[in-house]
C-alpha cells in the first residue's frame, strides 16, 4: 500500500483554490503531490514547484507536457490522477486529455465552460471508466450528510419547501478593475462562462439543494441582475424553483450582498419538520419539528447517523471546517481510485462524492437560469 499520487494543473503562487486543494489532499495522509503544471507561465510553474518541495523534473511548463511525460514514467512512480484547479475555461481540455491518457481526474466546479463541454466530458468519463470527482465541497460537511440521511430516511416526511441562499459581498465594488486575479477571471465571460455569481456560487447552491433532498429541479424562474457598473456578468440573482415532487423553492446567489462573507445556507421543510444548515457554522444542523422541541444536531455528537459521522475526524466540540469538508471529497475520491486500482468497487461511504453527473446538471442550471433571466415567461423548464 502506498499514497495515491497527485499531479496538479493550475494553483501556482497566489492562487486561492489551488492551496485549498493541496491542503485538502494532504490532510488525511492518503495522497501525495508528486508533480504539477502550476501555471500557464512556465517560470511561475517552476517557482511554485519549489514552494511545494517538488523535484524540478516533475514541475512542468504546461498540462500537456505533464500528462505526456508522466505517462512515460514507470507505474510505480507516475501520478495516479490530476487535480484541475484552473479557471473554468481550462477545465475541459486538461480533463479530457488526462482521462484519455488513463489518469483519474478531480476537478474544481463548475465542471466546464459550457454545457456542451460538460456533456462531452460525461461521455469520456463513461467511456474510460476512470474516477472523476467534482469538488462541490460543501457536500463534504458532516452536517450536510446528516441532513441528506435524515431526509432519505423520511424523518421530515414529504418535502414541501426548499430555500437555499448564497450571499457574498466581495464583489460589491468593481474589484475586477483593480489587479484582483480572483475577481478578474470570474467576471470575464471568456473565462467564467455564461454566468457570473450564478455560475460561481449559484451552482453550489443548486448542487447542495439537490444533494440534500434527493429531488431534482424541474422548472425555474430567474431574475438575474448586474449591480456594479461595467461588470459583464450577473452579480446577483434570485430564482423561484419547482422540484420533481412538486416541492417549491427559492435559490439566491449574490456577490453584492455587502458585508456578507460566504454565507451559504439551506433550509428544507417537510410535512413533519424542517432542517436548517449554515456553512459559516457548519457543525450545527438545526432541526425544527411540528410537535417537539427544536434540536441542534452537532457534528460527531449523539443522534448522528453513520453517513455523517464517517465524515468526521475528531470528537464533538472540536470544530471541523471548510478544509476538512473539502478533504472528505479528496479522501473519498482517493479511496475510490485505490479501489479502482485493486479492481474493486469502493466502499459505499467512499463513493459519496460529486461526479460528472453533478457537473452536467450544474452546467444545465447555468444555461437555464441565464435563459430564464432573459425570458418574459414565468417558468423555464430545466
Amino acid at each position: 500500500m502506498r499514497k495515491i499520487r497527485m499531479g496538479m494543473i493550475g494553483g501556482g503562487r497566489g492562487a486561492f483554490i489551488g492551496a485549498v486543494h493541496r491542503m485538502a489532499a494532504a490532510l488525511d495522509g492518503q495522497i501525495e503531490l508528486v508533480c504539477g503544471a502550476f501555471s500557464s507561465n512556465p517560470k511561475k510553474s517552476k517557482l511554485s514547484g519549489k514552494d511545494f518541495f517538488l523535484p524540478a523534473d516533475r514541475v512542468y511548463g504546461s498540462y500537456e507536457e505533464m500528462i505526456k511525460k508522466e505517462k512515460t514514467l514507470p507505474v510505480t512512480e507516475r501520478m495516479d490522477f490530476v487535480a484541475i484547479v484552473t479557471p473554468n475555461h481550462v477545465h475541459f481540455p486538461p480533463a479530457k486529455m488526462a482521462l484519455e491518457n488513463g489518469f483519474h481526474v478531480i476537478c474544481d466546479k463548475p465542471a466546464t465552460f459550457n454545457l456542451k463541454e460538460a456533456k462531452a466530458l460525461q461521455k469520456i468519463v463513461k467511456k474510460t471508466g476512470l474516477v472523476f470527482a467534482l469538488t462541490h465541497n460543501y457536500t463534504g460537511y458532516p452536517m450536510v450528510k446528516q441532513a441528506k440521511a435524515m431526509i432519505a430516511k423520511g424523518k421530515l416526511g414529504k418535502i414541501r419547501k426548499i430555500v437555499v441562499e448564497y450571499p457574498q459581498g466581495w464583489l460589491s465594488t468593481r474589484l475586477e478593475a483593480s489587479d484582483q486575479k480572483q475577481a478578474a477571471w470570474r467576471t470575464d465571460p471568456k473565462k467564467s462562462g455564461a454566468a457570473g455569481a450564478m455560475g460561481d456560487i449559484g451552482t453550489h447552491a443548486e448542487n447542495l439543494a439537490e444533494y440534500i433532498t434527493g429531488l431534482k429541479i424541474t422548472h425555474l424562474c430567474a431574475d438575474l441582475h448586474t449591480f456594479v457598473k461595467g461588470r459583464r456578468l450577473d452579480d446577483d440573482g434570485s430564482v423561484l424553483l419547482k422540484f420533481d415532487n412538486d416541492a417549491r423553492g427559492v435559490l439566491m446567489a449574490s456577490q453584492i450582498s455587502a458585508g456578507e462573507e460566504n454565507n451559504l445556507r439551506i433550509r428544507v421543510y417537510g410535512e413533519k419538520g424542517g432542517l436548517d444548515w449554515s456553512q459559516m457554522e457548519p457543525n450545527t444542523l438545526t432541526a425544527r419539528w411540528l410537535d417537539k422541541p427544536v434540536q441542534l444536531l452537532r457534528t460527531g455528537s449523539a443522534g448522528i447517523y453513520p453517513e455523517s459521522s464517517n465524515a468526521t475526524r475528531i470528537p464533538a466540540g472540536h470544530p471541523e471546517g471548510y478544509l476538512e469538508a473539502f478533504a472528505t471529497i479528496y479522501l473519498n475520491f482517493a479511496q475510490s481510485v485505490r479501489a479502482y486500482q485493486a479492481g474493486k468497487k469502493p466502499k459505499k461511504q467512499f463513493s459519496d462524492f460529486p461526479t460528472i453527473e453533478d457537473g452536467v446538471r450544474g452546467m444545465q442550471f447555468i444555461e437555464k437560469v441565464v435563459a430564464s433571466g432573459k425570458s418574459k415567461s414565468k417558468w423555464t423548464k430545466f
Copy 2:
C-alpha cells in the same frame, strides 16, 4: 389631562389578537378601555366585558349599538376611539361607521377585505380628518426604526437587494378542520379575503420592507401554492420583487414551514453595507459593512438614533418584545389623538405609525400577488 378612552370591537374571550391589543393599549398608561362590543354574540360580549371589569352598560351587543350609544354620552365620558380586532371581513363596516360618527380608529391588518373597501376607507379617513392607525406592529420595534433611520441617513448607500421572509409552521396540517378559530377564519376566503398566508403575514413582510427602506415595490413575480389538501387559500408563497430605485428583492411568506414559530426576518443590502433583523430576537440589529467589522446594534445601547431610542422603555439588556412594539403603535396613535383633540399636530415621533395609506398598499399587494400567482408572465406591475 386624562387617559384616552378606547372602545373595542371584537376581541372577546378566547381571541388572540384582542388580548394583544388590550395589553398593548394598557402598557404605557395613556389609554383606558371604557367600553366594547367584544363579540357578534351579545352574551359572549357581556361575559368578556366582565373579564375586563367594565360596567355592564358600556358592554354592547354589536358595534353598531356601541357607536350609536357612545355618541350620545357626554364628551367627558364617551370613548375617543375604537380598536377593531375582528376578522378581515369585519374591518371596513365598523371603521366606516366609527369615522363617520366622529371616532378615531385603530384597526388590525390587513386594512379591509379587499382593495375596493380599502380605497373607500382611505377616502373616508381623508374626508373626516380623524386619526386612523393600522397595527402593522412590527414597525414598532426599536431596531426596525433604527434600520429605517440608518437607511434614510444613507449609511448603506444606495439600496440594492432586499430579502424579507416570514416563515411559520402552524398551518402545516389542516388545523382548520378542527375547531381552531384562528385557523378557521384565516383559511376561509369569505372572511380572510383573496389570499391566505400572503394576506395574513405576507402583508406584514411587504409593509416592513417598504417601511424600512422607504422604497416602493413596482413589479412582482409570485409563485403561490397550497400544500395542505382541502385548504382553500395559499399557505406558502415566494415572490421576486423590483423596487422603484431598481433594487431587487425576494419576499417569502409561509405557514407550512414546519417547526417555524414566527420567524419574520429582513435583510437589506446597499452599496456600503447590509442590515439584518429578526423578529424572534428583536433587540439586535446586525450591521455588516464592506470595510469594517460586523456590528451588533442593540436596543437602547450605544450608537442608537433617537428615532429608535424614543421607542424604548427600559435600559439596554432588558429585552423588550412583541407587546412593547405593539404598544408603541398604540402610544403614538394615542398621542396623535391627544394632539388632534388639542387642535395641534402631533410631535414627529408620535406620527410614526402605519396609516390607511399602508392599508391601501397592503390590499394592492394582496390583489397583485394573487394575480401574479395565476399569471404565466414573469412580471406583474404593482
Copy 3:
C-alpha cells in the same frame, strides 16, 4: 369584581424602576394605580401624579401621609396594596407601616437595608398574614419556570454544578461622580447597604440559582473587589458555592464588565443533562443531554410544562421580555390579594412569586458574602 388598587411609594419622574413597576402592574389589566407618594419631594410627587393622570387628592407628599389618608377612605375606594420602589434604605419603614395598617405590599429587591430589618419584616408579614411579594422579577420568565419544573421532575438527575453569573458594565467608570441618580444611591453605603454589585445584582443571581434548583447554598467563598477608584462599595465579585445536596457552584456579579448590558445567565448541570438560560434571550432554554441531541426549549412551544406556559401571554415566536416577566410577578401577587380578599387560598400558579423568605435569604447572602470577602478562611457558612 374589580381591578386591584395600587398605591405607589417612590418612582416619580426620572426613576427607572418605578416606571417598570407601573408598566408591569398595568399589562394584564388586573391592577390600577389609584394613588402615590412618588417622591420625598412633595412638589415632585405632585407633578409625577399628573403624569399618571391621578386626581390631585390621591397624590401624597409622603408615604406616611398616604398610608394614613388612604386608610380613612371607604373600602370601595382605597388602595389595596402599596408598591415600594424606593432605594434600599427606604424599603423597611414603609413596608412595616403599610402592613401594620392592613395594606398588602409588593417591594423591590433587596428586601431591606440589612438582615436585621429583613428578619423584623418577616415577623410582621407573618403576624399580619397579608400578602408580601418581592420583585425578584427574573423568576417570572417562562423559561426560568420551565427550568425549575424540569429539575423538580428529576429530568436532569441529581444536580452537580451550578454556574450563575450577572455581568454588567455600566459602572465601569465613576458614574456616581456625575449626576446619575441610579449610580449615586447604589454606590452609597448609607442607601444601598453593605454591598454594591453583590447587593444590587448578586442577590438576583443567588435567588435565581436557589429558585431554579430548589437547593440552598450552605457555604461560600467570596472574592469582592472595587475596581473604580473612589467607589465605596464592591463593583465586582466572584463566589465559590456549596449547596445542601453537595453540588458545587460559582456565582459572579459584576458592574465593571465593560460592554456588558444585563447579561444574567444560569447553567445547571445534573447527572443526565444540563440547562442553560440567558436573560438577554429569555425565550430560549437550552437543554443539553448526555445521550441525545441538544434541545432548544422555547416559550410557549412544544414540550413546555404548564408551570411555564401559564406564565406566557402570546404564541411562540412572539417574544416576551423583561416587562412581561415582571408583570407575571404582579399578576400572581394581584391574584393572591384577590384570593385573600375572598377569604380563599390563591390557585397554585398564582402563589408562584418571591416572598419575604426570599428577602431574608437575600439579606443573609449579602451579609455572608461581605464577611467571606474579608475572611482569610476559604469557606464561610451561609
Copy 4:
C-alpha cells in the same frame, strides 16, 4: 529546501491525539512523517506504520530504538524532530532522550508528569538550544491571536477581570470502568499526574488566559471535586484567581458538565471594553465596548491584525477549525526548526508557539491548584 521530517512517539491505531498531530503536521505541506514508534506494543507500532505508508525499517518498537537508529542515519534522511503524543507519564523520558540526541521536540500538553520533570526538561531545552514546542493548540486560533494583539495594543485599557471556563461532559459517568482508553489513562493518577480535569483541560484554560492577556496568575483559591463515585482524580473544579496587575478572575474546568462538548471560552474585561471568545465557534471574537456598538471580529475579515491574519489560510467565511489551529503550532514550530537549521532566528510570526516555559507554568498550576483544593486558607500563592 525540503520538508521537515517528523518521527512520532505514540499515536498508533485508535489514538485520538496522535491522529490530530499527524493531520496538523500534514496540512501545510511543510512536514513529512518519516518514522515512528507508535506504541509500546511493537506489533501495534508496525501495523500503525503501515497505515501511514511508512517503510517497515522506519517503524520502531520503542522510542529508545527510534532515537538511537535515526541518529545513525545520514542527515539527509533522518528525522529532524520527534512528536510526543503519549500519555503524560511518558512525556519526559522521550523528550529528554530526543533533545540529548540532537532532535527537536514537539510535545503534547501538559508538559510532563509533574513539576519536577518540567523543570528538569526546561534545563535540558536551555542547554541544548533546540526547538521545543508544547501543543497548547488553542493559542493557534486566529481569533485568539487577535485578542492577544488587541490587549497588547491597549485597546481594552487596563485589564480588570478574566473569566475562563472549560466545561466538558464526557466523564459524567464512570467511563473509565469500561474499556475507553482515553478515559482510562486520564483518570489514573499514575499516568495522568496529580490532577484530573484540572490537568487535562484546566491547564489549557490557564495557558489561554495568560497567553491572551500577557498577565500572570499570582494567587489562586480552588475548589476541586470528584463527582463520579470511584473516580480517583478531580472531575470538576472552580478557581478564583488574582493576576499580577491586580486583575481578578475565575477559572472553571469540568468533565461532568453533562451535555457539554468542548466548550472552552474566555472573557476578558478591561477599562474600555471586553472580549469574548468560544472555541466551539472559533472564527468570531466578540468585542464589547463602553461607548460604541458590539463588534463581531471575524477570522480573516476587515479590522483584523496581522498577528491574527498570518495564522489564517482561507478567506473570511470559510471556517477554519481545531485542526487548522493545531496546524499553526506545527507550522510555526517547523519554520523555527528550519531557521535553526539555517543558523538563523525564525521570523517573529513563526516564533509564536507555546514553549517549555508554558509547560513549567502549567505544571506549577497543577501543583498549586491541587494544594489549594486541599487548603483551608483562601489564597494560595502561585
